[in-house]
């Protein structure tokens, strides 16, 4: 008998009588203004939130901060070299990456992105700074609504991203920029 069969046989023998799954529909009924809550929470976890009217404001932001630097994006209306063909390692040295989120979660200030938004999986981690565009109408209250939206999305890789990379491993002092992006700016449109 293989280890697999041995393990499964023993688990089957030792597991208690089957118990029903609980009802999740009673959860996630908290009510608050999702946009305000999202913005407050995102700032509290180290992100910067900027409300914008049109795309040119993002362009202006990038020009003022990353002129002459390596800026990449997965957005169709954004001019950047074709970096999707580069190897993941070659993306080291990206100064700013701009992507668009599918939706945001108010209760924890996170955004959901998956393969199709990322271009390359490593991109939002290896970049020094990250910018995310989020449509205000796509902010939902809690994680329960989040998984309803995700449903059975056929992604290879999906990610809830909440704020910049951080650590408090040295005497509980919070430091932004552990291994992933040092900063996160969310453009609310």
């Amino acid at each position: 008998m293989t280890s697999r069969d041995q393990i499964l046989a023993k688990v089957k023998q030792n597991q208690p009588n089957s118990v029903h799954l609980p009802d999740l529909s009673i959860l996630g009924k908290e009510s608050f203004d999702p946009i305000t809550k999202f913005a407050e929470t995102a700032v509290a976890i180290g992100a910067e939130v900027i409300e914008i009217q049109d795309f040119s404001e993002i362009q202006k932001y990038i020009n003022s901060k990353y002129s002459g630097k390596t800026v990449r994006s997965t957005l169709a209306d954004f001019n950047s070299e074709n970096w999707l063909a580069l190897s993941p390692k070659e993306l080291d040295g990206t100064d700013f990456l701009l992507v668009e989120a599918q939706f945001g979660v108010a209760e924890n200030g996170s955004i959901w992105i998956s393969d199709k938004d990322l271009g390359q999986r490593i991109a939002p981690f290896i970049t020094e700074y990250l910018g995310v565009i989020l449509d205000k109408s796509k902010i939902i209250n809690t994680m329960h609504q989040a998984y309803q939206i995700i449903g059975d999305e056929d992604y290879g890789f999906g990610l809830f991203l909440a704020g910049p990379s951080k650590t408090a491993d040295i005497e509980q002092s919070l430091v932004l920029g552990a291994h992933g992006a040092r900063g996160l700016v969310i453009f609310l449109k």
Binding site: S3, V19, Q120, G156, P164, K166, E171
Partner: protein, 461 residues
């Protein structure tokens, strides 16, 4: 082997440090409270999480088969390990096969690892290093203890027992940082640069698994630093080690656990990254190693099976008065604290017989547990099992037997009380000595003039 109480005694010799350790952890506990109190449905979430986990335990074999089937469809290779040794051999064989038996002796030979308490439980690092494979821990706290030749003292905060001055010194020695610089920002930046080089130059990444979803065959890894993702997305080969109790039925159940995990662990509303791995990247290999290592045995112990609900948030550590004042290494196991003390006797009753006694049974652990494990009750039950199986010291057994004789007979009880009060009063040296464990680090109280029984007889009207 040194027992918990002996190691704790050594830890407590440095009074200031013990107090600092205690306060730092309680600070994290308070952050947890603040986060939890902001959620109106917190108790409902805990109850729901507990029920989901109980459903998982009661259908575990079916869910495991379902997960395997769906993971395979997604292009993930699935392996099964009965114990720690088999886990380590499987990991070695995957790496070895990937390099076609010739593990290259250059900078590519090592693997980058993000946090996985399971690989600690299996002593995987030591095993792989003995086979010539370098393992680089990439979580900052884990890298610190690794450079120091230690093991994590806490499952979420691996170097919570280290002071920044000491980390500055350690980094000066190993990473060439400025001598005397203890600024957390500066030291974190140094680690970022040091580990970025490893991420870019290693072909193999190993991660743990926080949750694995049966119906989609995907697994979720949570980090704040982004080290798991930096490792896996840059690697050609991703190995994920998973304790078999990490299964949950459906994607929607992640909502409950992701709401609870980080709030319970550090007081954050969610970890920075909650990464859902469902299919390997083009050109990448992805493997999951499902590990039993005693879990199926624990599943069969009715009194203790609830311990398998654990999601490794560490809340029970941060609230435990014994953990906070004895330090993680006193527990001499990969998983310390209250939860470790009910998991470890299952793995080796004799070696870990001291751990269920490293508790005041105050119950704070059970009250903060996000999946409502009855931790303190299990600690109490383990004590009974350990005594019955003869794993407690002869002195303790003798004392307990004597005590039960005294308490069983009113006459003996009355007489012993009298003798006790007389001794404390007339011959204090008989009790104020090192043979009396209650005299350790404290003064004995003034003996009362009379017993309650005597007082009652006199005052009864």
């Amino acid at each position: 082997m040194t027992t918990h109480s002996k190691s704790a005694e050594i830890f407590n010799r440095d009074f200031e440090r013990t107090t600092w350790h205690d306060e730092t952890l309680y600070f994290v506990r308070q952050k947890r409270d603040k986060a939890a109190f902001q959620i109106d449905d917190w108790e409902l979430l805990r109850e729901t999480a507990s029920q989901i986990k109980f459903n998982v335990l009661s259908n575990l074999s079916e869910y495991l088969i379902q997960f395997e089937e769906n993971a395979l469809k997604n292009g993930i290779k699935v392996h099964w390990a009965a114990d720690a040794r088999e886990h380590n051999e499987i990991v070695f064989n995957i790496v070895s096969e990937y390099f076609e038996g010739n593990i290259p002796h250059d900078t590519f030979k090592g693997i980058v690892k993000s946090k996985s308490m399971l690989t600690e439980e299996c002593h995987m690092n030591e095993y792989l290093i003995s086979k010539g494979i370098e393992v680089v821990d990439t979580d900052l706290g884990e890298r610190i203890v690794q450079l120091a030749g230690e093991r994590p003292s806490h499952i979420v905060l691996p170097c919570i027992h280290w002071k920044k001055e000491e980390i500055g010194e350690l980094f000066h020695k190993h990473l060439g940082t400025e001598k005397g610089n203890k600024d957390p920002k500066y030291l974190t930046e140094a680690a970022r640069q040091h580990l970025r080089d490893k991420f870019l130059n290693r072909k193999v990444a190993l991660t743990g698994v926080n949750f694995a979803v049966a119906v989609t065959g995907e697994f979720v890894v949570c980090t704040n630093e982004g080290n798991a993702d930096m490792g896996t997305h840059l690697s050609d080969l991703h190995i994920a080690s998973m304790g078999m109790e990490k299964i949950i039925p459906q994607r929607q159940h992640l909502s409950v656990f992701l709401r609870l995990l980080a709030r319970s662990a550090t007081g954050q509303p969610i970890t920075t990254y909650s990464s859902h791995f469902r299919k390997p990247r083009d050109g990448q290999q992805m493997h999951v190693v499902i590990v039993d290592n005693g879990r199926s045995t624990q599943l069969g112990r009715e009194d203790f099976r609830n311990s398998l609900k654990c999601i490794r948030c560490g809340a029970c550590f941060n609230t435990c008065p014994v953990y906070r004042r004895s330090g993680g290494h006193s527990y001499h196991t990969a998983i310390a604290g209250p939860i470790g003390s009910i998991l470890s006797p299952n793995l080796d009753m004799k070696a870990n017989a001291d751990l269920p006694f490293a508790s005041t049974l105050c119950g704070s652990c059970s009250n903060v547990c996000p999946v409502k494990i009855d931790i303190h009750q299990q600690l109490y039950k383990w004590r009974q099992v350990l005594v019955k199986e003869g794993h407690t010291s002869a002195t303790k057994t003798l004392m307990m037997k004597g005590m039960s004789k005294v308490l069983a007979s009113p006459a003996v009880f009355k007489f012993s009380g009298k003798v006790g009060r007389m001794l404390m009063d007339k011959m204090p040296f008989m009790v104020n000595n090192s043979l009396n464990l209650w005299y350790k680090q404290r003064e004995m109280p003034e003996p009362p003039k009379e017993s309650f029984r005597e007082w009652y007889k006199k005052n009864r009207k």
